[in-house]
């Protein structure tokens, strides 16, 4: 059952990601991106990361996608234009070569490493959100503060860049 769900999510992710890059209308691309992001949240649920799935839907499908569609409505993008750059053939070729290399390496490698101490049973007994929150506010306190500073810089930068005259 879980295998079937994984293959469903993976197939929808790949097909809708292809739609993102081959659709001429940017709004169609945005809707395909929405489908991709929601199915990635499904992959997170399969991997026992329910909190991240909720954040994925809130931040990506909620905030970022709404922002993209909002800007799309501002700009008057014409429908009749050349879709691809001049380097499209060599880019497709490089992509196919690269995916062949990566698949070769992944399928032939055995991934080993020391296991951590957060097993599924421990996370489930403590609660997913509680486990992430406890680690985030103890071990990762300084990166958390830096992330808040990044958000502040992004907010000020977006206002300064998009304003007509300061």
């Amino acid at each position: 059952m879980l295998n079937l769900l994984f293959f469903y999510f993976a197939a929808v992710i790949v097909i809708s990601a292809l739609f993102v890059i081959i659709k001429r209308n940017a709004f169609h691309s945005a809707v395909a991106l929405l489908v991709t992001l929601i199915h990635i949240a499904g992959i997170f649920v399969l991997l026992n990361a329910e909190f991240l799935a909720a954040v994925q839907i809130l931040v990506y499908a909620g905030a970022i996608l709404v922002m993209i569609i909002f800007v799309l409505m501002f700009l008057n993008v014409t429908q009749r234009y050349r879709m691809f750059n001049r380097q499209k053939f060599i880019a497709f070729l490089m992509g196919i070569i690269l995916i062949g290399e990566v698949l070769y390496v992944i399928t032939r490698s055995a991934i080993k490493g020391p296991k951590g101490d957060f097993t599924i049973a421990k996370i489930l007994s403590e609660g997913n959100t509680q486990a992430i929150g406890r680690i985030l506010y103890t071990d990762y306190l300084f990166p958390f503060e830096v992330a808040s500073l990044i958000l502040l810089v992004a907010m000020i930068g977006a206002i300064v860049l998009a304003k007509k005259e300061i």
Partner: protein, 100 residues
């Protein structure tokens, strides 16, 4: 239980699709969407490794990557609006005034 390799292959395919999108598309908005695809592929890798290695650090890093992705989307769209106001185009190969 699905093996770890399947998740890695899915993330690799998603990353390469995003990379091709960045390289071939002319519309600035679609390029930004392709960058989001690449960031999501990285997130899938982090969460899959965190699940199979019984670790929680990967999940925390996904949280930070989402923060940076939100900041990147906001700045990118602001740059897009600014260039559209100054040059009147949203195609990346027509914004070439630095080329001389």
């Amino acid at each position: 239980m699905v093996p770890l390799h399947y998740y890695l292959i899915l993330a690799a395919i998603l990353f390469i699709i995003g990379m091709i999108g960045v390289l071939v598309r002319r519309n600035f908005l679609t390029v930004l969407m392709s960058i989001e695809l690449m960031l999501n592929a990285v997130n899938i890798n982090f969460v899959a490794f965190a699940h199979y290695m019984d670790s929680i650090n990967g999940r925390i890093y996904v949280f930070f990557i989402m923060t940076v992705a939100a900041a990147e989307a906001a700045i990118g769209l602001a740059i897009l609006i600014s260039t559209y106001r100054n040059t009147g185009t949203t195609f990346v190969d027509e914004i070439s005034s630095l080329k001389g």
